[in-house]
């Protein structure tokens, strides 16, 4: 299993670098905004930052997962790996774990920065710090849901359909955050979407001819 994960990480190194770069950009923006908005309520720069981060992350991660699956088909990676002593479930799991790691590379520095900035500039009486954890979990799950949907879409063979689906479905799933906010109800809904997508992807992946 570790070998498969290592292989996926090496194959998707560009994604890790891109995530790190994007994270650095967002951290820089957050610090600049926090300095500029010193004394203001957190809504001002938080919502502004979220309006930028959310659509980008949805598109990025759905694109990443569809890219992973289409590359796999083009390069016949799974076809090769399936003849080795691994199961298709392990191949898919390694892929998903790699996606999760990319997400953590992107979000964790932003979350840590946001927590530090909040502690520096905003009193916990104004906005309690544990809400930040809720926000982080929601954004992470939304990105993960977009990623899982992308895995499913990427199993389709029609390239035009894949591109169209990415541009339609990623804004839809991310817009759920704008509709519902960051509370427990959306966390549960996103969790269900993630589980449904992963189960469906797994079913499709293990039964598809390679």
């Amino acid at each position: 299993m570790f070998t498969l994960i290592k292989r996926e990480i090496e194959d998707n190194l560009v994604d890790f670098l891109a995530a790190a770069l994007l994270s650095a950009v967002f951290v820089f923006i957050a610090i600049s905004l926090a300095k500029a908005n010193l004394g203001h309520e957190p809504q001002t720069f938080s919502i502004g930052l979220l309006l930028v981060i959310l659509p980008i992350t949805g598109l990025v991660f759905m694109g990443m997962s569809t890219g992973q699956m289409t590359n796999d088909k083009t390069r016949k990676v799974s076809a090769f790996l399936s003849t080795l002593p691994v199961t298709r479930t392990q191949i898919l799991l390694a892929r998903v774990i790699t996606g999760v790691l990319v997400m953590l590379v992107l979000f964790l520095p932003i979350f840590i920065t946001a927590t530090v900035l909040m502690k520096m500039f905003i009193s916990p009486y104004v906005f309690a710090y544990h809400y930040l954890m809720e926000i982080f979990i929601t954004i992470f799950l939304a990105a993960f849901a977009a990623y899982c949907l992308g895995l499913q879409i990427g199993l389709s063979s029609k390239r035009a359909g894949i591109v169209l689906a990415v541009f339609i479905f990623s804004p839809l799933i991310i817009s759920l955050i704008f509709i519902k906010g960051f509370a427990i109800n959306i966390i549960m809904l996103l969790l269900l979407v993630v589980i449904a997508s992963l189960v469906r992807t797994w079913q499709k992946f293990v039964s598809t001819a390679l």
Partner: protein
Amino acid sequence: MAKIRLHSPLGTAVMNLSRKYILKAVTTGFITLTLLSIALFWARYSCESALRANMVVAPVQITPSGMLPDEIESDPNVKLHSSIVAHFNNEPVPLGSVDYFKDRTIAGRVSNTYHYSKSSGSPEENVIYFDKKTGLIVYHWTHLVRESDLSTRIETRNFYAGPNAVAEKPNRNMGRFTDPIEAGQWFLPNGSRILYDRKLRRFFRIDFQVKTVAKGPEIKKDREPDIVQIDSPLDYGQSRLSCEFVPPREITPEPIEQETTEENRSLTGKRTESKYTVTIYSGSSEPYIPILDRSGRIDILDRNSLEVTGPAGWLPSPRSLQSSSGNPARPKDLLAWRYFTVSLGPDQYIGLVTAALNRDGTAMALATFDKNGNLTKTAYSRGTMTLRGSQHPSGSADAAYFGTPWAPTLTITKYLLENLHPLALAAASFITAGSVEAKAGHSAVFLMPNSFIAMHARDSASDFFDRYFVALLMILPSIILSAVLAWRVGKSAALTGLDANAKWTWVIATFAFGLAAFITYRLTRSRITLVTCPNCGKPRRPDMHCCHRCGSQWHIPEITPPTWRVLNHSHVMSE
């Protein structure tokens, strides 16, 4: 080709609903339903926002207010009578993400911080919050103290208030608050603040300056008002609805200068002084605090004795598209509300003013009540409807949906979008119409609390027949669409070899979930190309052992010609 009916051990062809297939259908169905619901949500939200944006919103006015004594109102010097003016705007309803932050910052619905102030560039800070762990109200302040040698030091003090006492250190004897609701404005003239604890069923007045807690009498269970708000409204749609009392005055081109002295200044109320010898207080005037309960009733709390008197009035029901839901309107059915007391001087309570904005933000009602809580006057927002080329006055909700330019198109679009929603969810919206909060309803994805069918469900004036028959008519397009899709699915299912159980399950699911189920069926159905059955000549599934139509197996010795084979187990050549 002769048809041969075979009675195979497997019987007629069946394709069992395997667990895998059920999982496939359920997971795909859930994802499809979610994405479709989100897309439909945005389409409906756009229609509703456009309908609101197109509204021509005129203020609602009650003139004369009817609250002042005749000797003031009928004064010959009065040129403009007293009036109550309410106004609402048509901006889009903020969604969950904005509400999330609003509810969690200072004095938000979910926040435990009641008050917070901090000097810019200075460490001085004042906070009042409810500490859930200790069950105490905490007043924390940080203050810069200037010493005699001009140096400064930071002094921090904490005060803890429980139901029994206030102290600088928490202790068990202070008791514990469990579920407090605080009044919206904290720094009252004498520095005290009011809160109500739902579990203890009492009002409390906490004074951090003199370190006392006053307890009101226990509210009897049968009279329990289930309070949702004390005094000024929380920041809950208040930018959307405004309401004020305008005192009587002479007509002058210049505004009257109003002098207010320090002792008369109330931080909680708005004090106006006219040129007459009458002092009118409106807003949170001493000693009366209005309290609102879940049923929409407003009582008056005596700030000194902490006893509840009343009722002083209630929230009026705006005239929505379908007939009004009856008075009083419940806060959960309203998008915004306002209320305040009107007094002539500190002990002369003369009445209550209330205003309410309906669920979808298209209609407003204004009401005044006398000092005994009797309804005196009401007014409703108006609009204009264009019928057969001529304009007619109407309720603002009717005008919003049918009167303004593009309104009929947007209304029909909204109606059709609602009918694209699954039938089961439309029925659920009908059943749950009264239980979804107005504000939360604007962020509902699967249910449609602001749909026409939900509006109809909330119409308490309709009888049984009217209620259900009209509801069915409202979702008739959805029923027709679902029936057509279900028929198509049934046909396709029979062709692709699904057994009767599976077929009927899909038909029922498609009828209940409409477009979402149809799409799910198309995504999950078997893509195997059918081949011709050698027995009956009709298309059959190649992955099934028997034909699902005639039941024959693949190999029919009677009609299959023999071929040569050289197999290991066949007869051995003998020389």
